[in-house]
């Protein structure tokens, strides 16, 4: 693949990751809250109007934008540098779960209990990244 189109596609992967980071974080938190039976979100679903939950979701989206953009840039760089070579392709995208775990340990004061949510978010982003790659490969044949 030529450099310019590949760079463009890498940026597209970055945008996809940046846009999906917050929804995936919320989904992971929701699944684990449901699994453990405990979380503010579960209580909100039963006790707070839907509109308020949506407002909180959009507020979180806006507030997390900078972090999501950072993850997007990381994904774009990762894709551009690692996904073309068949050896580096094996580890391409793994930077995303690692970055999520890194974010947890940098920003949270009691990170260990929250590890599953961040790992799950990272894996979710990794799957999305690989899915985008799969699509590109299918269409570039």
């Amino acid at each position: 693949m030529r450099v310019i189109p590949f760079l463009f596609f890498s940026l597209l992967v970055g945008v996809l990751i940046a846009a999906s980071a917050w929804p995936l974080f919320v989904t992971s938190g929701g699944i684990l809250s449901h699994w453990f039976g405990e979380g503010s979100m579960l209580d909100a679903i039963n006790n707070v109007p839907e509109q308020k939950i949506m407002d909180d979701f959009w507020f979180g989206y806006q507030q997390s934008m900078l972090i999501a953009i950072a993850l997007g840039i990381l994904a774009a760089l990762d894709y551009f540098l690692l996904s073309q070579n068949k050896f580096t392709w094996i580890i391409a995208g793994l930077s995303l779960p690692l970055a999520c775990i890194g974010l947890l340990f940098v920003f949270y004061k009691d990170p260990v209990p929250l590890l599953p949510t961040f790992v799950m978010t990272g894996i979710g982003l990794f799957i999305l990244y690989r899915f985008a790659d799969l699509i590109r490969r299918l269409f570039s044949r």
Binding site: S33, W35, F36, E38, G39, S40, M41, P49, F59, S64
Partner: protein, 484 residues
Amino acid sequence: MIIRKKTNQIVLSTTLCIAIAPMALADQAVLIGGGYDLHSTQAQIEKNVQWARDSLESVGVSTTVYFSDGDDPADDVFYLATDEEYHSPFEAMSRVYGEHTANRLRYRGHSLENVAGATNAEALKNNLAQILNEAEQSTLLVFNGHGSSSHDAPHQVGISLWGNTSIKADELQSVVRNATQPLRYVFTQCYSGGFNSMVFANPAEGLELSKQHICGVTSVSPYRKSEGCSAQVSTNGYRDYTTYFFAALSGYDQKGEILSRETDMDKDGLVSLREAHMYSVETAVSTDIAYSSSDFYLERWEPWYLKWLPARRSLPNNEFAKIFRSLATKHNMPLEGNAAKTIRSALRDATENSEKLSELYHEIQEEEHKQQQEIQLAVEAKWPALGQPYTDAFKTLVSGENVAQISHWISQHSVYAKLLALQTRSSNLSNDILEAERYATQLQKMLHMRKLASLKQQLYQYGSFEEVAGYERLLMCEKAPLSQ
């Protein structure tokens, strides 16, 4: 770093002591009660206002009462006649025509003494503003009555007042804005939690507290209906927030019996607003999940990066965890491990049970309606005027001996005994539904306590100095006793 933290703590403690100093004076209480018209002013509201007044005066707090139409001698309260009072010739007819409950209703003027005035919104706002401006001591504002919801904006919930008027939470905040002394409140109506937004400088958003020292307690969240407003005169069945809160304050229940449990948790000889609130939360078996202003603060504080995460399974050791443990033990729920999951599973079962009971209730009501129609057809074939109330023929028919004759005829009808049995069953089912909802609420309350326990811990972990100081200012306000 450690030195800075200690200095912060000293500054915080000093600030709080200075801020709370005026609260040490005895409170005066303003009690507001009643519905928005005669048909919404149940006897329980009147009883509760009298109960709150007696309880407050017993601990040395002076009271001023505003109740429905004030001094107007016209009827402003309704109640259900007791079995002793109720001897109606229309009993059988009212059962067949679906007016059984209505037939028991009685109307009268309120029996409260020394009422300062009516509760019409405009007059009440002026009176409140004057009382608060002239106050030389802190004021306790207590409301017993009905509330209106606002699902989009909690600060827009309201209290419904006489003459179909109302005051919204943000309107009330603008009334109390000029208060020179601290104000505390006890709001017991539906959706009362929205009134906790009065503690903030901007009721709509943000965590900055109002310059005035305002704090208080409410019976429910901004999105929930509260228990209460029964037309029954007997206080035995009352389980509303007022019943528990003021019992904690005075140490006696509404029947005058001493409480089985100590409510002065810190043993300083005085029961604070917070102690009475915590007692109510722990003891009440009702459909209320009570909120204090500091609880509301915690929920508003919860930051976006924590809100969507699963909570820790092990609880921190604080007052909310203590109440959770007490409730869980009482209802045979696990304290550790999968506690939350088990409670949620029990909550699902309880909700299903309540829904099944409701379905059964509606089925019985439909059956009841069919049987009523069958008797109505039979009785109207014999006395056609019964089918046209508000006519001269009807008036002639029901005056004199006919009523007894019709009642006797109805009571001998082959379906009437079945109808009576169905009506008794639907009445019992209605109580069962309420009990099922009360049990479900206890489970919800356990989850709520777990949430608050975690939130409080998170505030101290993640909150800024100002945020923690704001929370502690509210706590100190709630912890100040009502009288000295």
